[in-house]
Symmetry: C2
Subunit: 297 residues, 2 copies
Amino acid sequence: MELKPYLSKKRAIVDQALRGIFPVIPKGPAADVVKAMAYSLFAGGKRLRPILCIAGAEAVGGKGTSVLPVACALELIHTYSLIHDDLPVMDNDDLRRGKPTNHKVFGEAVALLAGDGLLTEAFRLMGGSMMAESVEAPSLLRVIRLVAEAAGYEGMIGGQVVDIQSEGKQVEPGIVEFIHTRKTGALISASVASGAILGGGRDEEVEAITLYGRRIGLAFQVADDILDIEGDSKTLGKRVGVDAGKRKITYPSVVGLASSKEIQKDLAEQAVGALKGFDEKAEPLRKLAVYIIERKR
Amino acid sequence: MELKPYLSKKRAIVDQALRGIFPVIPKGPAADVVKAMAYSLFAGGKRLRPILCIAGAEAVGGKGTSVLPVACALELIHTYSLIHDDLPVMDNDDLRRGKPTNHKVFGEAVALLAGDGLLTEAFRLMGGSMMAESVEAPSLLRVIRLVAEAAGYEGMIGGQVVDIQSEGKQVEPGIVEFIHTRKTGALISASVASGAILGGGRDEEVEAITLYGRRIGLAFQVADDILDIEGDSKTLGKRVGVDAGKRKITYPSVVGLASSKEIQKDLAEQAVGALKGFDEKAEPLRKLAVYIIERKR
């Protein structure tokens, strides 16, 4: 199978589903916050997390369409985290995916609330009745817990806080892995695991896919660190060299660029290795592991 | 029945359940954000939303203990909204419940993430397995949707954004009701309705209790407006006269103080009226409607 047309096709399906969530022209007194939510949601994301969710479901023989609400919810959570992360009190970024960041367009108060709104809407979507009809309610509750854990203080938020607090500091070894497995890895891992659960995967399948998700999740953030050094600002749609400027704790800053590339490659191989018991339905996941470390944006 | 001992008893149950959610001494690199979450959660809240959830369950013959995780989740959502609302980009308040606000103690970045963490943790709690054992999974999913809707851009967040954007402006009539029914009313209404759903209430019971919730939700915010004028700063644990200083859109500023008191009283009466088909198990809810407009804090 070819990954590129697979990604294009799935991205189109996810985009269409996301379009269905929000009114095309938001009306009423609170229209601004809806516009702000939609602005960042449709700013040209890769839809990696939704695609991983769909691919996770398909790998265990499930239907990709049946996980769409959860797939969309994962993109909403990812988008909220970017909006809050870009705020002046956090990373203070003014460019994201080649466009002005949310608070640059809508102001900080609305951007804050737009992030809150996306996070909240994600859980409404997951609890959504459409979803509940196509999958078992207990599986859906399990996924809600899994995603909330991955996005919460033991996952993404925990990673964010340590990331912010470690800037410019000498930290213990292990802290960079702590940050990366949580800040980005946790939600990526939960995305693919959610798909496997909702797709009806057996326990050992869900476990293997969870392990796959952990490895690519960490690999993704290591690749991000490397792109901040070697990437092209125009292709990335954001500034490069930001990590060094802020003295962020990254893999290259801790173990060097060459070792970071080795680690990234090992992680992708371990991810593919975790799927050895799976048939050709897991091929998109195998290809995605390679894509994640070879991507240019 | 006497409301005061009822409130004390339920508050103690809720506090104990909340204590069980967080590690007593947070450890690890991300301990700061957990401390910040706990700081605001245990800053002396009235636990009104959890108590309404429990009372809603009891009014339809359900067990209060079986709704505890959802009751706690509602308090987490309320607390997150206060932390974000107090941030400098929002209301910029430095005092809440007689204590420095979250960002004054932990800094803006950690406060932002603590709010995000509480909101996320709320959904983890609601999806929690303990809960799923004592109630039907589809009811729990219905409650998750209901609470997310009440907290989201069509509810609390929608109210917040219009509240912020209307400061100091001449607005159309109806905007103050738009703000108040959403900013505070939506989550209060969802609290009591969630209890009724999880307590096994029939459709018409859930409907009546939802109507009750809408009325007391709006009454609560009108009472808040009045307390900002007539209340005692020390008893309230926050500054008074803040609304006027910020030229907030409030009931007293739009219809005057005397009319606001009339409206508040009418709302409480309508709330009690909505419960006319209920027996003595709904007595706490009836008393709560009066408490809400007569409270001093």
